[in-house]
Symmetry: C2
Subunit: 366 residues, 2 copies
DNA sequence: TTGAAAGCGCTAACAA
DNA sequence: TTGTTAGCGCTTTCAA
């Protein structure tokens, strides 16, 4: 199984045709339409190809001619390391990859990290469409994607008029979660959320920043919390919201620390992701707070580790999200008009939410 | 931020040039070599482009012309779901993605699962090179990759003459692990390994099947175990080896069950991956065997969960593996001749290995 | 069943 | 600074 020298490509379809004394059409047919020539001739062509080291039609040239790249682009602005470490993101990636595999098309990861302002990679990607996963509405890469004359499907965020989207009903899901907490008796809550804009702000969040967040999902979740708690008589302006730029367990812990240091009276920490919630639980343990006796902690996503820990959270079908997005994109030729697909979520009440300690009335039997 | 109708591409570089009354070169330069024309002219060109809905040079046409696809292909024959669920594989993927990102090239996942015999996807991938991750030596997709006139780097397996490769020194690593077990006193061992060929065999493995395994890594690990235990006076022909096709915790458990049901005298279960080892530990617990008191269990890879569990295992730098492979591929233009890079491994003795229960002599102070 | 002609949309010498 | 010329390697009507 030795290999000849790499990067040969001496032979082309044309040179093969010349060698054999047939037309290029015939050689092309030998590869793409076996039924268009005699088996004997085809055999001869393929054999000569092997002899000449012709590796078959060049995929790029074919793509140019057929106007089909045979690949789907994935734009993922999040830092890659985080993307691969967040089980929710990996699930989406897996689902999308499965959809691509079913369709026999490649999945092209576009090199675009938050730091890299260079949008050229988007222009250079030879793909038939893009899936965009959870980016801010002012992301320059996203803008570049939307300029390309190919269909696009957005997963989660942002919400853009006229562009297909797949995601959960964040507002409804968070509302149910909030109602659960309200019914338990929590009135003094704190929130720990993911980054709201492209600039780093590892700190408390002003009302202004909340309502103008460039990450729609976070904004919608905060709005839903505000609405639900306001309905329960809580003045949202008094509810502390802490933001963390990096989406890691460690940042979840430090966010919780900042929150609880300043607002020790908080009875429940609502996190907008499981990763942050897991960090918050670690911080609770560090300060000697028992969850859920002394502190309620909730998450969002429903990743496997959350389930193991019994975290009260909102489960969303991440694998499905990727799959549906892929299928939507690959089937978009037949459709007219944009489509928005809302995936179901499920409130999973675990062992990390309970009535606040400060409520003295008995909760059961009352 | 509304969008015009999708899939327009009415305008091309040529039509833009005609509209403006300049040459195509000039328009091309406006995009690719801004310093080759006056800022004023460039501005005019870009503005007209926007007005006409010209999305910039077509990436496929550009690739054809420049003979650069701007992407690296990744061949991963393993079922995608398993690939994304095995932290070792995810680590490799992450490392490779990071290397690609650094170089500004895309990462193109080739749709190729074990079932899919269709090799066309490999031919259709517009890439400048391939990274092949852990496939059997008779994999048809691999053969197709090697026929393509682009550089290729193989991670882990197979070992092919003349092709670049990145991986650990499996034999050395396993030998150290075996010596650790031998020094503890283990003589009655059993092995649980990953699949050895493309056909399923969830059963015991014959000597013949061991030595002709198409997955080189597994073969090498088994050979190293055989050599090390033979040196300690163990007749390898008497050592039971169980194989599992799917690489899951559940299959690790069922493999251990099959092994221990038939060979209850075994004092140590050597698993060729952490995933399998974690399953084996679950099975040990199920049968009431205390690890390591009643049974020693070892793994391979050094994934995070193994570390949390205190598993005795061989750690290998998976992220590094992907990164190095990517860099090797992307820098291969400057090199001559094939290159093999061996990554360091580390034996990590945890809490799952101890002297066998049947050994009555005191091990310390003796 | 096979071939001739006409591009797909672009970039890179080279020349002006 | 801009334009002319010549393909990159392939597929696809259409005609023979």
């Amino acid at each position: 199984m030795g290999r000849p020298i790499r990067t040969r490509r001496q032979a082309t379809l044309a040179s093969l045709a010349a060698e054999l004394g047939v037309s290029r059409t015939t050689v092309s047919n030998a590869y793409n339409r076996p039924d268009q020539l005699s088996p004997e001739l085809r055999r001869r062509i393929l054999e000569t190809a092997r002899r000449l080291g012709y590796p078959g039609p060049d995929p790029v040239a074919r793509s140019l001619r057929t106007r089909k790249a045979g690949a789907v682009g994935l734009l993922l602005t999040e830092n890659l390391s985080y993307a691969f470490r967040d089980p929710a993101a990996v699930g989406v990636l897996e689902g999308l990859a499965l959809a691509c595999e079913d369709a026999g098309v490649g999945l092209h990861l576009v090199p675009a990290s938050p730091g890299r302002e260079d949008v050229a990679a988007v222009h250079r990607a030879g793909v038939d469409g893009f899936v965009v996963y959870s980016v801010p509405d002012d992301d320059p890469h996203l803008a570049a994607v939307l300029e390309r004359p190919v269909p696009t499907v957005i997963i989660d965020q942002p919400r853009i008029e006229g562009v297909d989207r797949v995601g959960p009903d964040d507002a409804a899901a968070v509302t149910r979660l909030a109602e659960h907490l309200v019914s338990l008796g929590h009135r003094q809550v704190g929130v720990l959320c993911m980054r709201l804009a492209r600039e780093r702000n590892d700190d408390f969040v002003t009302a202004q920043r909340q309502s103008s967040a460039h990450f729609h999902v976070q904004r919608i979740r905060l709005e839903a919390l505000a609405t639900a708690f306001s309905a329960a008589g809580v003045d949202w302006a008094t509810v502390p919201v802490v933001e963390r730029f990096d989406h890691t367990v460690d940042d979840g812990a430090s966010g919780a620390r900042q929150l609880l240091d300043a607002y020790p009276q908080v009875t429940a920490v609502i996190c907008t992701s499981d990763i942050l919630a897991i960090g918050a639980m670690a911080e609770a343990e560090r300060r000697g707070l028992r969850v859920p006796l002394d502190l309620t902690v909730t998450g969002f996503d429903g990743i496997a580790e959350a389930e193991r820990l019994g975290l009260t959270t909102v489960h969303q079908p991440v694998l499905e999200k990727g799959k549906v997005a892929g299928r939507l994109l690959l089937g978009s030729a037949e459709r007219v008009g944009p489509k928005v697909i809302t995936l179901p979520t499920e409130l999973r009440i675990g062992r990390t939410s309970a009535p606040p300690r400060t409520v003295e009335e008995p909760w059961f039997g009352g």
